[in-house]
Assembly symmetry: C2
Homo-oligomer: 300 residues x 2
Amino acid sequence: MARHVNTAKTADPVSGPVSGPVSNPVAGPVSEAAGLSSGAIRKRIRIGAHDAPTAGLAAGKLQCNLAILPEVYALDFLRFCQRNPKPCPVVGVSDTGDPMLPTLGEDIDVRSDVARYRVFRDGQLTAEVTDISDLWNDQMVTIALGCSFTFETALVRAGIPVRHIETGGNVPMYRTSLDLEPAGDFAGQMVVSMRPIPEHQLDEAIAISAKFPQAHGAPIAYGDPAQIGITDLQRPDYGDPVDIQPGEIPVFWACGVTPQNVLQAARPPICITHAPGYMLITDVAEDAETSIYKKQTNKE
Amino acid sequence: MARHVNTAKTADPVSGPVSGPVSNPVAGPVSEAAGLSSGAIRKRIRIGAHDAPTAGLAAGKLQCNLAILPEVYALDFLRFCQRNPKPCPVVGVSDTGDPMLPTLGEDIDVRSDVARYRVFRDGQLTAEVTDISDLWNDQMVTIALGCSFTFETALVRAGIPVRHIETGGNVPMYRTSLDLEPAGDFAGQMVVSMRPIPEHQLDEAIAISAKFPQAHGAPIAYGDPAQIGITDLQRPDYGDPVDIQPGEIPVFWACGVTPQNVLQAARPPICITHAPGYMLITDVAEDAETSIYKKQTNKE
């Protein structure tokens, strides 16, 4: 089932050397999956019947960034995430060697239930595939991290414009000068995403996103990009530039590309992530107090 | 510096066989430490000049439950905490073998900066001591967990009565029938604390505590205690019973005794916790968005 792509250079985690439909992770066709439940979409993905980005699918359900790595790295990576909760909000951790993620939903098999994966060996992107069953082994640990889709949905619902959604592009992302708290081999600088927000809606945008600590929470900064080491907003390191209109302020949120960069830099012998935009769709409500899925027969 | 106490039986984590001043963890004398900064109190504790519970000290700073255990258990214990975030909100994790906790404050040495510790061997309480330098080794990992002091302060500030604070007792706590999500050797049922809340302030109490996911968050349940397996509110498993007055509803929050029970049941060869009421005082503001301490020169 694995489909391999060109693999020559170190990958940019979002808009890197992988060509073709992968390079536009957000604007892709939502396809016939729109309107399906989270479980139904995962079933389609599992059998190879859905190969498109997941933005806008399974409305109201938490979607996740994924990091799959050998157990020997898992404790340090979890420490890293705990110390950097804004870019790395952990929402699920598998047992070692167990491909299932019962705390995130019903019958989630992480080997097959994500539409596209990226495989890194010694920090180099070596393949992009649609199934990782042949790569899974009894030392693998899956760590799922919250993503910005959650607060973007909430912003749009509150009538706050989100430019890159309006334009159908990918959110612009930037490397910053903000040092991360290191743990073991994991260290580096934070990557942020930027959304221009009308000045009169800034406080509301901050308050809304702060309600979602498992999806990067409140912004890291707003206003002058130089304060966090960004030199040119029109030249994002990943994603597509967007216009900042009169009366709008650039607002910077911690970004899930951060842990991907940090993982690559640590150069574990193998590490697997989702492909950008092709997120794991869970059964957890994105406004739930915790990311722990409870069957309907069980109450919390 | 270590002071040993009677150690015969399996310890009740809060009101167990340890005799003397330890048995009343909340109502103890605040002493001359009131008004000191978090760092100043830790310095007094470090030199043995403060031997009292920490409730009410270092107003506005996050206080923590502690679990110190061998690295071989740390990954599973962190998984357990991630899967049970309401009773086990992780706010800090040390490097393996490093007694310092830089993400929680300045110069925090976990071997000496907590006033009292409990030492468990194979799940049995074997000692209560004021310093663990002689027990520390290069395999130890410290995990700090949020505690209910944080939301209690917020409730009192909002004019919501907290009965056990009014009466000077320890909060009543109960074993429940709520199964925890297991991880490795860690499993069991949730322990909850109970506070009677006037019915007209129930919604506000829920909303206020929900703002503190790192301090147990919103209640687990309210009303009929039988729904969570509690048979008699006047016979708490730990702590002191409180009156429920006309117009008040018993409200149940996930409790930090949960991980202590689970740790004991897993019977690691050694495990060290704080003594109940003798918490780690951090430099992190208890209303901060994350529990990660930043020096004043660094902004997030």
